[in-house]
Symmetry: C2
């Protein structure tokens, strides 16, 4: 079976899950933490080299305050959970804003935990325009741009798995996702099942990979 | 009904269609010309303001010569067909390469035909890295990057319709497609039917639009 090197996870549907379960929207994010640990462990088990979690974006921070507090806490807790695993964590986002949680500043350079191994990336207070706003260098007429963008330490994504039924990128790493295959699940992220992950891998195995060729 | 302002068309599957019809791969592109005119006319009829056709990319030019000749001719013919319609054509791509057809140089500034109206964009010898290689200016820390990329005259895409079953962007306008909803058809592009277009519009009408919020 052809296994993707790098999987992007868009854990969408937390708020819709909360409403469906008679909770207020902000309560949904807490129920997205355990699925994140589960999908990480499956990636580790299957020999995926890198996994990127779409935490929250600069766009998301325009949401009501109680939601902002809730998704920020869920992201911090998710990163902290992975510090107990064997992995190499990178948190990427705009740290120049107060909306970037101070607790995650130590992870903005890739940090090895346990015996290391799988790279686990979290996009936190991330923005696609912020990302593509090339680093201060004369980059014009460079053939390859990735070395010059903020997300330069994140590799090309092979497979993007999105929960919650929306068929869009929502600004996830535009440079790394140009050739990514998208697998969409209608289920909300807090309802994540192991089978979702294997369905995505089995689907990916049937895709050709041309990298635009 | 909520109509997208800007539709992106990924007309994929020409070569697979050709093989399926006992033709050599290069013969498929010719059969993609008429569908392009048809989808343009439907966009015009439904009041779509802008449509972008994914012609060929710098990646595509690595294909066998007879294919390169065939898809280049199909693109030139497709642009020429639209010069007989009421529209405003823009051809965007890397004109510094010999692979950019000279015949299309006059269209690299938006040009009005007939009474104008709908904007029709063709990506020709286009490359996502070429596009994002920001124009020579100090762009660092600009809040919005689109004014500084090569595709600055192409607006945000609301709906991307892809034929041929592949669930990926293949490098289509990364900055304009960050929030686009994707509608995928398994049918090959030369088999385009009017109903495909309306199925996509009806699906789009049911999507929410959050622009990442």
């Amino acid at each position: 079976m052809r296994i993707p090197k790098h999987i992007g996870i868009i854990p969408d549907g937390n708020r819709r899950w909360a409403l469906f379960n008679q909770l207020t929207k902000d309560k949904g994010y807490f129920f997205g933490i355990e699925p994140g640990l589960n999908v990480f462990k499956l990636c580790q088990k299957e020999g995926i080299e890198e996994v990127t979690f779409y935490g929250f974006t600069i766009d998301n921070t325009k949401r009501p305050n109680e939601q902002k507090i809730a998704f920020t806490k869920a992201c911090i807790d998710s990163v902290m959970l992975l510090t107990k695993e064997n992995c190499e964590i990178l948190v990427l986002g705009n740290t120049e804003s107060d909306l970037f949680p101070k607790e995650l500043l130590p992870f903005t350079k890739r940090t090895k935990f346990g015996s290391g191994g799988i790279k686990a990336n979290f996009l936190i207070n991330y923005g696609w325009e912020w990302d593509l706003n090339l680093l201060k260098e004369d980059n014009s007429h460079k053939k390859h741009i990735i070395p010059y963008i903020h997300s330069k330490d994140i590799s090309r994504i092979d497979l993007i798995i999105r929960w919650g039924g929306r068929r869009r990128l929502s600004g996830l790493l535009p440079a790394q996702s140009v050739y990514s295959d998208f697998y969409i699940l209608d289920e909300y992220w807090p309802d994540f099942k192991e089978q979702d992950f294997y369905d995505a891998l089995n689907w990916y195995d049937k895709q050709d990979v041309t990298l635009g060729g």
